[in-house]
Structures are given as C-alpha cells and as structure tokens.
C-alpha cells in the first residue's frame, strides 16, 4: 500500500524542478503583490490598474529592447514608464477619489486599466510579442545540486525579484520616507498635523507600487510573451496573494506570493488542470480559518 503510494509519486528531480518553478513564479507574484499591497496599505485604494501596469511595463520593455537591443535598458524603460504613468494617474485622477467611497476608487482604477490595456491593443494589436531572454540569461544551470538543469534566466529573475523586494523593504523600513509612509498608514491625519506632507509621500508610494507591477511585467516578458490581456491574470493572482498574506502587509505579500507559487506548481505536478483552482481553494481555506490573512492585523479591514 505504502510502496504503491511512493511508487506513484513523481521522481524527486521533477518535484525539485517544479519547486524551483514555484519559487520563480512566487517571487514574481510577491513583487507584483507587494506593489498592490503597499498602495492599498498607504492610500487605502485597491488599485485595479495594477494588471494593466504589468502589461504596460512589459510592452515598454519590449519597445526599448527593439530599439536598443539591451535588456538592461528594457528593464529600466519598463520601470520608468510605469513609474511615470503611476505619477500621472495619481496626480491626474486618483487623488480626486480619496474622499469618495472605496467602491468608486475600485471602479475608476478599473476604468483606467481598461484605457491602458485598450490603448496598448490599439497600437500593438492583440497578438503576443516575442521578447527573447538576454545574453546573460541563455542556457541552463544545475546550480550544483539540481538533478535537471534549470533555465538560467528563471534563476536570474528570482534574484532580480529578490533584490527589488529587498530595496522596497529597505525604503519602507529604513528610510525617513518609509517612516512617514508607515505612520501615514496608521493615521494620515496625525502625520499631517505633525507638519509632514504625507500626501507627497503617498504619491511617491503610488508610483513605486505601480513600478513594481511594471518591473514584474518586463522581467517576466521572456518567460510569458506579453499580450494586452496578460496582466489581468496577474491582477487576480495578486488579489489572492494579498488575501492569503493579509491586506496591506508587506511581509504578507512576500510570503503569500511564495506560497501561491508553490501551490500552483506543485498541484500541476499531480493534477495539471487544477493548478489554478487549488489557489482559490487555498484562499477559501484561509478565509474560513484566518480571515485576516497570515500576516494581517486584527481589527484592520
């Protein structure tokens, strides 16, 4: 009986490879969700343009790569483009919604997302675009311990995502700006009374959060070819991640992202067709047993 079970398990090398895939996807989800969650935590806005910003980052990177042939330029272009668009959105429209109900904020960011995606579709068409991995990401590696070689570029995206998340962490927890932002999450009125321009900090946060989505879009472009609707999937995933980890929690987004990555890749090892469904099952379980998420604070909704 037990031996039957063991023999029916996939070989370890495959499990190992899938776990690495899970880590790669998880880091990407962590990066996207961190952007979503810090915008929500700081501004109280659930930003439904987040998926569109992912797409925008991917296309901006694609255009820059076509023009210069440099992958680093592509990453910079994707980040910068979404940063600027984030600034324009916040200053131009979203700030007028801070005093309107949550639902209105959700609806307007949803509408802005449509505009971004449809603008991309009008210009680039609906077909996917091919973005090759950079020279320094060609080939595969076993990292000295893996049974099967793992694509080098995927390993590098793990590293890039980790570095970006670390920078976010340092900015949020080790700088004056981060202090203002974290205080603003607690009570923005009080921070204003202390003579700090908390709203300036807020629009910087919006731009940084938008940039996180854009960065994820570029670095994932060689793995998943960009399409206009490609970001929508990641918007939904990041919702699940944020619910898993706890809304507004930065560590929650990271842990939730990694968890989501493993759930999807490990399920697909056994029941490929259910890999995404399992993600939602996990979310339902969290909702039943720990509604505020793994890292959410009690009493904050």
């Amino acid at each position: 009986m037990l031996t039957d079970l063991i023999s029916s398990l996939p070989p370890w090398g495959l499990v190992e490879a899938q776990m690495f895939n899970g880590l790669q996807q998880g880091m990407l989800l962590a990066l996207i969700s961190a952007g979503l969650t810090i915008i929500y935590g700081t501004l109280g806005v659930l930003n439904l343009t987040h998926g569109a910003l992912y797409t925008l980052g991917a296309y901006a990177g694609y255009v820059a790569y076509q023009a210069t042939g440099s992958f680093l330029t592509a990453i910079a272009a994707g980040a910068l483009c979404t940063l600027l668009v984030g600034l324009v959105l916040e200053r131009g429209i979203i700030r007028y919604y801070y005093n309107r109900p949550d639902e209105d904020q959700i609806i307007v960011t949803f509408g802005l997302g449509i505009i971004i995606v449809e603008a991309i579709r009008s210009y680039f068409g609906g077909m996917s675009r091919n973005m090759p991995a950079p020279d320094w990401g060609q080939g595969a590696s076993q990292l000295g311990f893996l049974q099967y070689p793992f694509p080098l570029y995927k390993i590098e995206t793990i590293a890039i995502s980790a570095i970006v998340l670390l920078i976010f962490y340092l900015v949020l927890y080790r700088t004056r700006l981060g202090l203002v932002v974290r205080a603003g999450i607690e009570d923005s009125g009080m921070v204003s009374l202390l003579g700090v321009n908390v709203f300036r900090a807020f629009f910087v946060v919006f731009a940084i959060g938008a940039m996180a989505a854009g960065l994820a879009g570029v670095i994932n472009a060689p793995i998943t070819a960009p399409t206009p609707d490609g970001g929508e999937k990641f918007l939904v995933y990041s919702f699940v991640v944020v619910v898993l980890g706890g809304v507004g929690s930065f560590p929650g987004a990271v842990v939730g992202g990694l968890l989501a990555g493993q759930i999807m890749t490990l399920t697909s090892l056994f029941y490929p067709s259910l890999s995404e469904v399992m993600l939602y099952v996990a979310m339902a379980l969290i909702l039943i047993f720990r509604p505020r998420g793994l890292f959410g604070q009690a009493g904050r909704t």
């Binding site: 639902e103 209105d104 949803f110 505009i115 449809e118 579709r121 609906g126």
Partner: protein, 618 residues
C-alpha cells in the same frame, strides 16, 4: 427603456407613494418594453442589441440589489451567470429537459445554491475584501469550467446547439418572439426586485449599505441580510445566463470569464447602480455605442478604448450614473419649486421647537430588581488591561452614570455591557439572562440598546427611514424573510416611528435626509435609533459630546424624560450634567471601579477628587 419609464421609476424608493403611483411606474415600464421593438429601430438599434440589453438588464437587477442597494461590490458575478447558463443549456441541449422554463428554473436554483455557498464564505466581509474575494471565486469557476467541468460545459468549445425555446407545445422561432420571451421574464424579474427593494428586507439591505455596524446594533442580523442579497443576485445571474444560452443557441465559456463580471459592472455604473433599471439602461447604451463605434464608424479595435475613456469620465463627473443623476436632477428641480420655502420654514422652526416640550422633572421612581449585572469583568488588549475585574450592577428604573478621567476604560466597559465586544474574563447578565458573548444584535433584541459617542446614522436615508430600521427589528426580530410585503405595511410601524419622533422631538423633520440635519438634531436621532426598539435598558455613550451649552441643557432634559419606565446608563464626561442627571454614579479609574454612590457623596469623595485632580500631593 423609454424615457418616461426611466424617469418615473426613479421615484420608486420614496416611502410615501402607495398603490397607483407604483402601478403607474410598472405599467410605464411594461409599455416601454412592449413598444421598444417598434421605436428603437428608429435610432437603428437592432433587435439583437435590444434582447441582449434585456439579458444584461436582468443580470443587473440582481447586481443592483447587491451593489446599489446593499453596497456590496462583487467582481465575481460571472460565476452565477455561467453556472445557471451552463446547467440550463446542458439540460436542454442533451434533451434531459425539454421545457425551456423548467430548465431555466433549475439553472436559476443551481445558481442560488452556489450563491449560498460563496455567500457563506464572504458574508462577514465587505468593501475591498468583498470585491477581491468574489473576483477570486469567479476566476475559480472560470478555471473549473475549462478543467473539471469541461465534460459538461464543453470546455473551450462551450455548448453549441441549445434548442429554441419550447413552452408547452409552442416554440419561439422569430427574433421578435425571442425578444418578447426575454422581455416578459425581465418584467417579472423587475416586479420582484421592486417588491424586494421596498420590503423590510430591502430596508435592511440599505441599512447595511449605509452603516452595517449600526444596523447590527439596532438588532438586525446583517450578515443574513447580506446573504439574501448575494443569493438574489445569484438567482438573477443564473436566469440571465440561461437566457443567454437559449438566445444565442450557444453557451459560450466566456460567460464564466472576468469579462462578464466586468461588463456587468461597467454597464451598471453607467446606468446607475442605485436604480433598478440602471443596468438595463447602461447595457443599452454600452451595446449601442459598441455597435455604433465598431461597425458604423469603423473604429475596429479602438472602440473599447473610446468606451473606456467615456466610462472614466462618466464615473468622475456623474458618479450616480445616467438614471441616478436624472433622479437627482428631478429632486433638485422639485426642491427649487415651492417645496423649497416650506423646507426653510421647517428648518427655522427647529430652533424654536428645540427649546422645551419635555417634562421638567420626573420624580425618581421605585427601583425594581437588578437588571444588569457584570461579574468579575476584565478586558485585555495584549498586555494592556483596559478593564480589570469589574463588578457592577444596576437596578431596574435606575439612572446610573459612569464617569472617569480619559483613558479610564469607560468605552471598553461600555462596549462589553452593550455586547459590542466580548469580555476577556467574567460574565454579564441582563434581565436574568447571561449575555456574555451573545453579540450586540441579540442583546438589542433582548431589550438593551445603545446610543454611540460618535453619530452612527444611515446617512443616505431620511429621519423616518432611519428609525424604520430599529422599529422593523423590534417588530420582526433579528431576521425575517418578508421580501414581498411593503415595509410600510408592517403593523404598527408608523405608530412606533411617530412615537420615537415625538420623543426625540424630530417629528417636523421626519422626511428630511440625515445629511441635511443640524448636529444637535443628528445627536437626537442617534439617541432615537436606540430608543426606537423600546429598550428596557438604554445605554448612552457620551450623549452630550460636542454639543453647545444650549443643546446640552435640552439633551439633559431629554434624557430625564426618557427614564420613565426604563433603566438608563449614561457614560459621560460632562460632570455638571452627570451630577444633575444621575441617581447613582460609578467612578471608573484605571480600569477599576473606584467608588459608587449618589451624586452628593461622589462630589465630595476624596478619592474622586484625587483621581480627577491628579492627586493631592501632586
């Protein structure tokens, strides 16, 4: 769909219209639906667009109930649309059921069951949580459609060959026949939705939208009313999904996709979520513009970009949607008419009415047995003990005040007595029952109700509609599924509301929206909401907070008049008022009861002076 129908329907939420007015609205909508196939082709709207608009409009009736009336923004309605649609289509296509209406019914019921299951998971959430979780569940079914369920749903192929409608022995073959088939079902759905919205259940939904915590505290099981709204929205979604499959002879897998939920939201917001016909109007506009931009103007793929821009402009400048803004315009035009003067007179008379009308001094009554008793109650927040080991009892008909310096733990104590927050240790007994951990709703139903320090009102309702919420809770209990009768028909409701209006001196403001009230009036309504359930025990948390000296005097008189026949506990900062009002005073310091006794004793008590003045030796 005609202009008259849209505009008259906007009055539907007014509480005063009875009988003929309602019938006139419904007749106008019916006439509009019947006439549309002969009128709308004049602006070159096709039969296809009209029928599709009706299907979306039907889907949207449920969404308007959920989002517009209950305030729950769901991004996962596609789950119900797809589930009901695929089940009905599957039954019909495979010849398991031949009668179209029966298949639609089964599809609708299945969607209801799904709504109940998802609803049980999301009923405690609201706002952005609700939006995120419903979206995720919607996606879950989209993926199930492509994987586990693909044997039934055809996976990415969908279900082709859904037969034309068969009703009895008649089949519906023409597109005009199809339009009327859908129109009849839409109209029936519309009639039901109108009944629901005007029923006590509908009132509870609006109360949840405006202030769920207060609806709870006035004795209503809000999570169950939310569940009803979710299940209703699922029913409408399931029926609309079935009609989609029958109308197209094909059930597309995209019905389950986020695009369905998104399109529903867009159309509803364009038309107006707070109006039942809003989604229908929004769908007509959206689909009409779609055809116009894509085909007539030859914009190809850019049509959605333009509609996206229009959408963002609409929500920025017309947040209530086309129908909602039309309704506001009508109200504004009316308010500019002769009614305006009357309003001003009313406002002016408030000041006069404020002074007086309450009896000056009620004699202190004979006390009854102990009605509220806390035994060894403590509350810890992490390491902080806000209340520790408090014993507290109040006798029937007593007027007790609880005072204490800032940070003494008064609010925590208040919340534990009211059932808003369970104690960490100890028990609370009320009227012979252990109410520890029962929750504020049940406590309110048992006869203890609460008025809060910060006004917790239903901001989009009138004064009368506000008071209707606690009065309905008193008349109907914490939950009742009376969705068909009008709220106004609940026996004795009018008398109860009138009595409460009289007590808090707001009779002349009964039909004023809460947002137009002066602060003092809002404060009195806040107390009125607690009074309207006719509590045996009334808990007042800082009733005088933020009032001018004159308003304070009036409110002190009001509280004195309220004590007739009931027990009152006041938590208050204003020492003069407390000494004037209370029979007995409990002084709470650092989470413990320091002393208790009649006002004279407390006033001169050295410990109290020490606590308030920071110690004699300071």
């Amino acid at each position: 769909m005609t202009a008259t129908a849209e505009q008259t329907s906007t009055r539907s939420t007014s509480s005063k219209k009875h009988g003929w007015g309602h019938l006139a609205v419904e007749a106008a909508v019916l006439a509009g639906l019947l006439a549309a196939p002969f009128v709308l082709p004049l602006i070159s709207m096709s039969m296809d667009v009209m029928t599709r608009s009706l299907i979306w409009g039907l889907f949207g009736l449920g969404f308007a109930i959920l989002f517009g009336f209950t305030g729950l923004l769901s991004l996962g309605q596609a789950a119900f649309y797809g589930a009901g649609g695929f089940l009905a289509s599957y039954l019909l296509t495979n010849g398991i059921i031949e009668q179209t209406l029966l298949a639609l019914l089964i599809g609708t019921l299945a969607a209801c069951v799904l709504g109940l299951a998802i609803g049980l998971l999301v009923e405690r959430s609201k706002g952005i949580y609700f939006a995120m979780i419903t979206l995720a569940f919607g996606e879950m079914f989209y993926h199930l459609d492509y994987s586990t369920l693909s044997g039934y749903t055809g996976g990415e192929n969908g279900l082709a060959g859904v037969p034309v409608p068969l009703i009895g022995s008649y089949t519906i073959e023409t597109s005009l026949g199809m339009y009327y088939f859908v129109a009849v079902l839409f109209f029936l759905g519309y009639l039901l939705a109108r009944r629901v919205v005007a029923s006590p259940v509908g009132r509870m939904m609006m109360a949840v939208r405006d202030n769920e915590e207060r609806a709870k505290a006035t004795g209503n099981a809000t999570h169950l009313y939310k569940l009803v709204a979710i299940v209703l929205s699922a029913a409408y979604g399931g029926l609309a999904g079935g009609l989609l499959g029958i109308f197209q002879n094909y059930m597309p897998p995209e019905a389950f996709a986020f695009e369905s939920s998104a399109q529903l939201l867009i159309q509803t917001v364009i038309g107006g979520a707070g109006v039942l016909l809003g989604p229908l109007v929004g769908a007509s506009v959206w689909l009409y513009l779609h055809d116009l931009l894509q085909f007539n103007l030859g914009l190809g793929q850019s049509w959605k970009l333009i509609l996206g821009v229009i959408f963002v402009l609409l929500i920025t400048f017309l947040p209530s949607g086309l129908l909602g803004e039309a309704r506001r315009l009508i109200h504004w035009l009316r308010a500019r008419g002769p009614a305006d003067e009357a309003d001003d007179n009313e406002a002016a008379s408030t000041v006069v009415a404020d002074a007086g009308s309450w009896p000056v001094d009620e004699p202190t009554p004979e006390y009854g047995p102990v009605i509220l008793e806390a035994r060894g109650v403590s509350k810890h927040f992490g390491g902080l003990a806000a209340n520790s080991n408090i014993d507290f009892s109040v006798r029937e008909f007593e007027l007790r005040a609880v005072i204490g310096p800032n940070g003494a733990g008064k609010s925590t104590f208040f919340k534990m007595m009211a059932g808003v927050m369970p104690p960490s240790e100890g028990t609370v007994h009320f009227d012979g029952n252990n109410i520890t951990g029962k929750g504020v709703t049940r406590v309110c139903q048992m006869g203890m109700s609460t008025s809060f320090q910060i006004n917790e009102l239903f901001d989009r309702l009138t004064v009368r509609e506000n008071l209707m919420i606690p009065c309905l809770a008193k008349a109907r209990g914490r939950f009742r599924l009376d969705m068909i009768r009008r709220a106004e028909r609940v026996p004795e409701l009018d008398a109860r509301i009138a009595e409460t209006l009289e007590l808090v001196n707001l009779s002349h403001r009964a039909d004023t929206p809460v947002s137009h009230l002066a602060y003092g009036e809002k404060r009195r309504l806040e107390i009125g909401l607690a009074l309207a359930t006719r509590p045996k025990l009334l808990l007042l948390d800082e009733p005088l907070a933020g009032m001018s000296p004159e308003e304070r005097q009036n409110t002190v008189r009001l509280i004195k008049s309220l004590r007739a026949g009931r027990t009152v506990i006041v938590v208050e900062h204003d020492m003069d008022a407390v000494f004037e009002l209370a029979d007995n005073i409990s002084v709470l310091v650092e989470g413990k009861i320091l002393v208790e006794g009649p006002p004279d004793e407390i006033r001169s008590h050295p410990k109290v002076q020490e606590a308030y003045l920071g110690g004699v030796d300071a």
